[in-house]
């Protein structure tokens, strides 16, 4: 009994130390984001760490959605439209990534074909390739395939950026989801086959529900990748997204900084939301385990 008590005390101490360490390590990040969010509700930037400069207001947010870039200036920007564009790209990337990875991951995990491990290694290599390195080739293809009709080209640019950006995410997603499929015991699949289900039905009704946490994880990662992307969006998309909007205004002279802070907060919102809502899920993903 004594010993048990001892161990418990020890582990609690270690836990406190660990939490403290993690907190300290993430302090600069928390501070930065905190200041950004605070600034978006203030008349002045609070980044100088002077609490007296903080005067609460929600004008910045109102101005933002009115599409004004500065308090006085006449430049109009359709931020609602940009937000929708960003969402289209993000959802598109998530959709394509999930569709391709779930099928490919299942094949990699369950089907035995020649060159499987070679393909898996190649996928890993692909992941190591930075997206920027590929962009010239990807751009050339884009130019060559771009429709001449301007409206069509606009739509095409959406599709193109979605597929191109998804392609960057897919390798890692396949690896991740393959791990989830690997952990489903063969016997469960066999049981369904013996029960009379076709391979497709087994995949849909037995395998997919069992890797749900994995699907959610890759969907979230892909969504955030699409949401946050700057380079691909700026290169290919005719329209603007939140990222390109902020990036192109950050060094404009008349830009009103607290307003940009509001834009930045808006841009951050899904990331923060997802991480809060899915903390448990992501933890499960990293420690890996589908509970029976």
């Amino acid at each position: 009994m004594m010993q048990l008590w001892d161990v418990e005390v020890k582990s609690r101490k270690i836990e406190i130390v660990l939490i403290l360490a993690v907190f300290l390590a993430s302090l600069p990040l928390i501070l930065n984001y905190g200041l950004l969010i605070l600034s978006s509700f203030s008349t002045e930037m609070v980044t100088n760490l002077d609490p007296t400069s903080f005067r609460p207001t929600i004008d910045n947010w109102i101005l933002l959605f009115e599409g004004r870039l500065s308090v006085t200036g006449g430049v109009r920007e359709d931020v609602v439209r940009y937000t929708i564009n960003t969402a289209i790209v993000a959802l598109g990337v998530a959709g394509v990534v999930v569709l391709v990875s779930v099928m490919a991951g299942y094949a990699m995990s369950r089907m035995n074909f020649k060159g499987r491990s070679l393909i898996m290694q190649m996928i890993l290599l692909l992941h190591a390739f930075p997206g920027v390195a590929l962009i010239i080739a990807v751009y050339l293809i884009f130019r060559a395939t771009l429709p001449s009709d301007i409206e069509l080209a606009r739509i095409y640019s959406f599709a193109y950026v979605i597929v191109a950006r998804a392609a960057l995410e897919i390798p890692m997603s396949i690896w991740l989801i393959k791990g989830f499929f690997d952990r489903v015991p063969w016997e469960v699949e066999w049981a369904a086959i013996i029960d009379g289900a076709s391979r497709l039905r087994v995949w849909r009704e037995v395998m997919l529900p069992m890797v749900k946490p994995g699907i959610a994880a890759i969907a979230i990662f892909a969504f955030l990748a699409g949401w946050e992307d700057l380079i691909y969006v700026r290169t290919f998309l005719f329209d603007r997204t939140l990222a390109t909007y902020i990036e192109s205004n950050i060094n404009v002279e008349f830009a009103y900084m607290p307003l940009l802070a509001a834009a930045g907060t808006l841009y951050l919102l899904p990331t923060i939301l997802f991480f809060i809502l899915t903390q448990r899920l992501l933890l499960e993903t990293s420690t890996g385990g589908i509970k029976g």
Binding site: P185, E187, V188, W190, A191, A192, I193, I194, D195, G196, A197, S198, R201, V206, P209, M210, K212, I290, K291, G292
Partner: protein, 371 residues
């Protein structure tokens, strides 16, 4: 219902031969127990019959239909997996209903059948739970229910009761047997527990290293094991083996140390035919009379001298470990006597029950002359 027949079935995984040239026939409506040590190929054999694995060579028949290349869903078998293999994302009800749903059975009928089989296995109060919320024994019963609900032609059970407590196990297994007989399902039942096999099975098949050792009625497997492996595997504790010389004179007798053992007429004739100089004497722990005093030995009967090594009281009897020369044997003795370590004892083996084996091939002598 159907009979199941395996013809020269071999299954290799790379270099591992999991099932080796198996010939086996399970009759229509028969309850066959498949017994063997871990890694002997029991599960693989079931998977071959279910159609999950294709044999490397050989054929499988249901009645006269060659099913060797038929996919599992066209075989109508029920399989209870060793690790249950329940669908974790479905409630117990949906787990059991799954095979019926795929067969497009009407909803009302599904409900009726699921409740019926759940009641049978005493899991009707668990239908609303997920498998993760059940104990091992409860999961096992759900797995059995799922296999039974589709009324399969062949029921394959891979150690289905290993996680039930002793009481539940006895009641579920007699329920299972009754059900199997009522429905007339042909069943193959894998188990480690030979008492279970003896109690349930019409016939027992014993497998070792992928090779079928013997297929017979339970009492034949027990009383006339085909080889030393079967004798040494069945029974708790299993059969004892003692090396013995053979003396051929006007009669034929065994020599164990300084003692002689008289043989029944059957074995005298077999030995005269085979002319072996050495045999292995096999006898079961309960087929021995343990005498503490040489004067108790009836004249004309034969005894083997030994020394008590350990004494384990078991309630109804005492299990003695006795050293005969360098060989250890286990025998049951009545608890009316007092035994202690180091005591000299005389073992009088029931001559009708003793078995002789060829030391080279390990095959029982009577099976050697038959073939």
């Amino acid at each position: 219902m159907v009979s199941v027949r395996l013809e020269k079935v071999t299954k290799k995984f790379g270099k591992v031969v999991a099932v080796n040239n198996v010939d086996l026939e399970i009759e229509e409506g028969e309850f066959m127990a498949l017994l063997g040590p871990s890694g002997s190929g029991k599960s693989t054999l079931l998977y071959l019959i279910a159609g999950i694995y294709k044999p490397t060579s050989g054929k499988i028949f249901f009645d006269d239909r060659d099913v060797t290349n038929l996919p599992p869903r066209e075989r109508n078998v029920g399989l209870v997996f060793q690790n249950y293999a329940l669908y974790p994302h479905m409630k117990v009800f949906d787990n059991i209903a799954f095979p019926l749903k795929i067969k497009k059975v009407p909803k009302e009928e599904i409900r009726r059948k699921v409740f019926e089989v759940a009641k049978l296995l005493r899991i009707e109060h668990l239908l609303d739970r997920y498998p993760g919320q059940l104990s091992g024994g409860q999961q096992q019963r759900v797995a059995i229910a799922r296999a039974l609900v589709k009324e399969p032609q062949v029921l394959l059970l891979d150690e289905p009761l290993s996680n039930l407590d002793a009481l539940l196990r006895v009641s579920v297994r007699s329920e299972l047997k009754r059900l199997q007989k009522n429905l007339g399902i042909t069943a193959i039942y894998v188990t480690h527990d030979q008492a279970e096999a003896m109690a349930l099975a019409d016939r027992i098949a014993i497998i070792n290293e992928g090779v079928i050792q013997q297929v017979d009625l339970p009492e034949v497997v027990y009383n006339r094991p085909k080889n030393m492996f079967v004798g040494g595997f069945i029974g708790n504790p299993p059969m004892n083996f003692v090396e013995a010389g053979v003396e051929y004179n006007e009669t034929v007798k065994l020599i164990v140390g300084e003692d002689s053992v008289w043989l029944p007429q059957e074995y005298i004739e077999i030995l005269r035919k085979l002319k072996l100089q050495k045999v292995v004497l096999g006898f079961r722990p309960e087929d021995v009379l343990v005498l503490k005093d040489e004067r108790q030995v009836e004249p004309g009967s034969s005894v083997i001298r030994g020394e008590i090594f350990t004494v384990e009281p078991m309630g109804r009897e005492v299990l003695l470990t006795v050293m005969i020369g360098e060989t250890m044997v286990k025998v049951y003795a009545p608890p009316t006597q007092y035994y202690s370590m180091g005591d000299k004892v005389f073992l009088q083996i029931n001559p009708a029950k003793l078995r002789l084996f060829d030391p080279d091939t390990t095959i029982a002598l009577e099976y050697l002359v038959k073939t």
